[in-house]
Amino acid sequence: MSKYILNRLLIAIPTIIGVTILIFLAMRVIPGDPLQLIVSETDGVYVLSEEELQALRASLGLDKPYHIQYLDWMGQVLRGDMGSSFWIKEPISGMILRRGPISAQIAIMAVALSWLIGVPIGMISAMWRNSLVDHLSRVGITLFIAMPSYWLGLLIILFTVLVFTWRPPITIIQLWEDPIGNLSMTLLPALALGLGLSAATARMARSAALEVLYEDYIRTARAKGLRAALVVWRHVFKNAMLPVVTTTGLALGGLLGGAVSVEKAFAVPGLGSLLVQGMTERDWMMIQNLVLLYGLIYVIINLIVDLSYAFLDPRIRYES
């Protein structure tokens, strides 16, 4: 197992390097000059002279060749320093540490919700295939898959504001500081994300369970008189969960980086909002480091998903 993990981590290195090169180049080739922002905030557009541009580039180290800039950045990262935002010099790691827990909490709550709602619905729908329950479940699944979580979030906000004159807090409240305040901030975004994810989970669970239900070993288990609940729990559920774990893992990887649209809908100051902020301000260093972080999260989540297969399916042994 440890050899497998080591191999996977080694394979991840070129992936991460590829991500860093791509985002580094992307920031430099997409149109739009971050230096223009220096003077465009207050009095409209101001034309920078060539001398001014040169001086500004030099002050930010942007006058160096690309490969030097890239190596500087990588050197910083390897030293555990994510650098600071372009202009205001705030440490990026500090911002990530403050906002990351909120995005992570929302993501984990959304995934937990999707399992709590989606897996039972999917299993029930599969067990009673083509029944009224199945039909209703499938309608609900289709509805919530089609419903963008951003739009759902806006509906929730609209409802709570108009009916209760209340909305989730818009400043960060950490779980360890004020659990109730924190939940009032994170629960509804998690619900908006989780409902859509529940539908996807339910659909995946249903189709996987349907496949398993017709396997020979299930028929055998039933034939030998095993109780239906045991058949479902021991044989159907575990085997049907493999694809669900895969899709959930990928979804979690995306959500941990901050669900940008839902964070925007609820005005949650999480990592997704931070990325949008970085893009708005053309803060290259912020964007580069956040994308690097997302890449790392994806690699780690994928590894965890792969390792979880061994737990769910004893036939999978990585040493072999």
Partner: protein, 579 residues
Amino acid sequence: MIQPKKFPSKDNGARSVDRRTFLKMMAAGASASVLAACATAGAPAEQAAAPAAADTPTPVPMPEPVTSGAGMMRPEGSPKHGGILRTAFGVTMAHFDAHQGGGTHVLCHMYNNLVRNNLVDGLRTIIPDLAESWEVDDGGLSYTFHLRAGVKFHDGEPLTSADVVATFNRILDPPAGIVSPLKANFTFVDSVEALDDMSVRFNLNSPRPFFLNLLTPTNALIYSKKSLEEHNFDLRGVIAPGTGAFRFVEHLPAEKWVMERNPDYWDAELPYVDGLEMLHVPAWSDRGTAVLTDQADMSWNVAKETWDEGQNRADIVRVNKLANFGAYWVFINNREAPFDDARVRRAIHLAVSKQNLAAAFGTQELINITRWVPQGDPYATAPDVLATLPGYRAEKEEDIAAAQQLMADAGYGDGLTGIELLAAAGPQGELLAPAFQDMLKRTLNIETEIRIVERALLGSEQQTGSYQLMVHTRGHGVSDISPRGNLWWRSGGSQNFGGYSDADFDALLDEIDVELDIDTRQGQIAEAEDMLDANPPEYLVGYTFHLPMWNNRVKGLALDERAFAEWGRMETVWIDEEA
């Protein structure tokens, strides 16, 4: 000749100020010294300002006796000390240097200007700030400001004339590596010199009736010489100490700013609140819901739908609709055919209905149909007059016929094809540009293709001139036509990206720049607007309204009386817990 307009009256109807009165208030004291002579601590500024509305015009602020207490703002009612004011609007900025283009809607609370707009009379007069009084000599060529005694920066350093000189020298003659967007506003200032520790003189090469106005925007704040020198004149990464009513406490990027009351503020009565908590709420709709749900006490500008809801919730919030100095435009590249022909630009000006554009964009932002000078400026054309002018009136039949004739005269009677209309992604590209495109097609048979780009790219497209028509925004902190005209419409102006050139307009602008007589200047500005109508540099969709919303507890900012929108200082605000 355009008839004088009535200046926007206060909502509560307690007092209305007509254009002439306002002009006199602005010019006359703009008040420095009028208020210096009259204002006393504890007296409502409205009362103090009354003498400024004398019958005889006062073209240039004249010297007045220095009186202690000048510029002390006192709101109506019985202000109470205490509490924290929570605001909801976007509080991010690319950097912290106000003079290099950093946003000042947050940091302004930490600083003072030499002069400022009066918070308690709805920004209708200019009053002393760090300058307790001033004198104007040599027919407007010399402004001597006398600084307030005992003012200290937040680091304990005393304010002296050296700080003012260092501040303005950096603006006028920035050191290498420093960008100075404000420099273009002060091209007529030859030098700034310290006469003694507490007096500063600005030497102008020609008089400017709006000079004091240029000192009022929040970005015309005063830094300390020590801060500037310590950081090699570059404050982009530095929250430099100011002299303002609030001191910096905490900045959580893209989340909130926290400031506390400055106990050593030069006006011992202010500020009333113990601190400010400025929440980062970039989305307009979230700002409105934040105020409605009592997560914030006020916002400078909320979404229309939440503003509408606020109107129905008078039990908890109040709202207003304020003229703003930023506008939506369709920029026209005057350098290229067919738009190098004034008749084509005039035809577009006449044919495209501003009312329709305002309606199309109404779900996003309220458009204030105006002429070239924005509402909120004393020289703006009154709405009732505007409603009768070709190009501005709602009835388009006659205008469209005239426009079609102009197109025919220019040789484009059959219309035009292959014109590119550039717009930003989002509401501008999705609502304004298609509406404009549709009206061009239906009225003048001009076929355009919309090209959508990211908003941040429009500026560079504009500067390189790689566009024909472009939907975009543009504004200026000062409403007077002179600074705007010199930047935007003068031949070779630094922001005249479309290459507009009209020698007659340039000559008239030269006169407007230096004209000190109010009535003469008013006539000149009306003539300039006529010129711009006849030979438009671009198409003006309209200036915008800002829609502030505030909790009923929030007092002391005269938000319901403001002449125009300003995301500025708030030291007179107080919280009425009993409201």
